[in-house]
Symmetry: C2
Subunit: 424 residues, 2 copies
């Protein structure tokens, strides 16, 4: 990472000593996990570059945006509608914390019995070690789990945190509630940005996010090919970067990647031998730089063909958002109707998620499913029990595990993952 | 416990060997914790009798009710409206599991990282060791926490489990959602019982539950006296029994207890020396037979004057339910409006709970507050952080702890509670 951003970080109140430690560690890990892979697509160069500049170039863009009066919204969930934020001239950036580095800092104010993601994210904020957090004018939380729901109340003492009330079920009454929350969010975003969200601007922003979604859909469609044209690690990296990169640029770069992958598929080329076991990942999201699970799977000679996760197919659920031409209310309902097809474990019942996993295992010709959830993530820990049962009944090999971001955990997970792969 | 109920238990499919173990252990624990207390009110005799017959006499009443075609609804939360169940001629019984005895059984199908209450309750069902669970025609769950929300999906494979969709917030839209859930519940209860809920029957049942609530309110009002006229252990026992006893009988017996306590207050008599430290308990519910916390506090010479808990003041929040005379919809709205004053940690924001605790500490002249939550109960674990801060700011001594139902935990809690009491 270049020295040119130091003044910017200092201006953002970054704890430079700890931030230097973080930015020293990351390239080594990235080198070790990513750059030694065989047959990487050339178009991954863009995504590698983004990682190499992880707290630099994009943060600079955010600061330039803010210098012109623009606002930055930090988010944690695919249920927070980027469309609304961009329609008001704001920028949405995903803030999910995926680094063990900041977990002990989070534990200074949070209970240990909480998932690593929440502790990592809060640790980044209270330790002043994430420029995205520092650049955000407001954090948009949601009520997807007990841990996040109650953590926002605490985080709000450190940074303004607005909470969207995502319901527990998906009845008609819950849909009404969610649409009313989207309307309340429009008011909030207008208030923060000082800009009015017109139907035209919302349509434009929805089309922008649709283009980004289409590019990622294409990437996932190409991953169905045998042999797999891209590693699970590389596909995950692209998805991780989708949470904070500029949407238009991301769509373009992902389409360039897809062009290259399409040529590979046409030529029957892959990243792994034709006989490599194909693994469907299912479970909790894998925020950057949490690459442990695909690294272990692919390090053992298998290939991850898809992720049923919020850093995977759940992000893309519902496909393209409809663009009704008759006003904000109908547009928000279209966003809600697209979103509510995302089968988060926060919902009950959530049988559709189990059906998704069975369908994805078939469509991606998976030899087995690895269900991973962060420890203390009760929605996914508990849903894993029913997922396991359903896959066993369908005759699909499955491994259900949980863990955190630590190296200690990685060691234990390695043993279990390798033992599972040997049975396939 | 008399032998006369053995045939009934066998008919209910009870695992007799394990049930015998449970019923052998309970009287010893009860003797040790309860019967050695000084200056117990005579009227506690009724509640002692109920405990001595814990799986007998009330279960027999439920079975007689079922023999006449009546239905039994098992519940776990003060948000499930007993009024609706009794209005349809059903009987509601609280099923919260408070015994470590069944936790290992629950852990056979549930993750360990889940609160003892959920594991105990599920263990009672799948181990066939609770006649109330066996007698229930349907279990009514709710979406108050991730643990319960997702456990119902699993429990439903063992016993029909209906889920009420309690929202995460309390905006006008959430209130509408909850009222729609109460309407859906009316349909469900009518369907299960085969009886129609008329406005007259609902008014009658609401008045019945109001009488029970008034008796408990009176008990809590009397506990404000100095010296305390009743131990925290005894008051808790009465509240625990309120969850499953016949409401009319419970109201009568609790009023008899209150008559005796009122005479004590008048005479300036108490259960503890005038100088005994007065403790407000705040936190998660203490289902029967989880008596550890007040036993430790009172064993160290202090007295628990109130419980800000669902086995305490949260159960009574909102006072008497209004009785509008103009139809079911208005009646359900009145129930909702009373219920939504219960400041469960499932809600965000939930500042009103912190205000409740500050107010109760003052009203009950508490020398300190002990906030206890079950381990892995994320809503209360996390809210405990803000409770602690608010109490410290108000200059009220506070101890925030978490734990489970085991004897090992009790040992650690004893040390911490005694150390806290010494500082007062």
């Amino acid at each position: 990472m270049s020295e040119e951003y130091r003044a910017m970080w200092e201006g953002l109140g970054i704890n430079m000593r700890r931030h230097d430690m973080l930015l020293t560690a990351l390239p080594e890990i990235f080198q070790q996990i990513y750059l030694g892979q065989q047959q990487r697509p050339e178009a991954m160069g863009f995504f590698d570059f983004v990682v190499s500049q992880i707290h630099g170039i994009r943060v600079k863009e955010l600061m330039d945006h803010k210098a012109k009066g623009g606002k930055v919204f930090g988010t944690f969930c695919v249920y927070v509608p980027d469309e609304v934020i961009f329609a008001a001239g704001g920028i949405a950036v995903g803030l999910c914390g995926g680094a063990d580095f900041s977990v002990p800092t989070g534990e200074q104010i949070l209970p240990r019995n909480l998932c690593a993601l929440i502790k990592s994210a809060v640790g980044f904020k209270i330790g002043s070690i994430c420029p995205y957090f520092q650049a955000a004018d407001v954090i948009i939380g949601e009520t997807t789990c007990d841990g996040k729901k109650k953590t926002w109340e605490i985080l709000n003492e450190y940074v303004p945190t607005y909470v969207m009330d995502l319901p527990n079920c998906r009845t008609a009454a819950d849909r009404d509630l969610w649409i009313s929350e989207l309307k309340r969010f429009v008011d909030k975003v207008e208030n923060v940005t000082g800009n009015t969200i017109t139907p035209e601007r919302l349509a434009e922003a929805t089309a922008l996010i649709n283009r980004k979604r289409a590019a990622m859909d294409r990437l996932f469609e190409l991953r169905k090919a045998r042999p797999a044209p891209i590693s699970g690690l590389d596909a995950l990296l692209a998805v991780q970067i989708s949470f904070y990169d500029d949407p238009a640029r991301f769509a373009q770069k992902t389409n360039e990647l897809c062009d290259e992958l399409a040529a590979r598929v046409q030529a029957g080329q892959g990243v792994a031998p034709a006989g490599a076991k194909r693994i469907l990942y299912a479970g909790t999201p894998m925020p950057i730089p949490f690459w442990t699970i695909p690294a272990l799977i692919e390090g053992a000679g298998a290939v991850v063909v898809a992720e049923e996760s919020c850093t995977g197919t759940r992000l893309l659920a519902g496909g393209q958002t409809a663009l009704p031409g008759d006003g904000i209310d109908r547009q928000l309902a279209a966003i809600a109707d697209r979103q509510l097809q995302t089968n988060c474990a926060c919902f009950t019942p959530n049988d559709a998620r189990i059906e998704d996993i069975l369908r994805l295992a078939k469509e991606y010709e998976a030899d087995g499913v690895i269900h991973f959830s962060l420890s203390f993530c009760q929605p996914y820990n508990l849903e894993g029990i029913r997922v396991q049962k359903a896959l066993q009944q369908a005759g699909i090999p499955v491994l259900v595990i949980d863990g955190d971001y630590t190296q200690e955990q990685a060691g234990q997970l390695k043993t279990r993952i390798e033992a599972f792969l040997e049975t396939l």
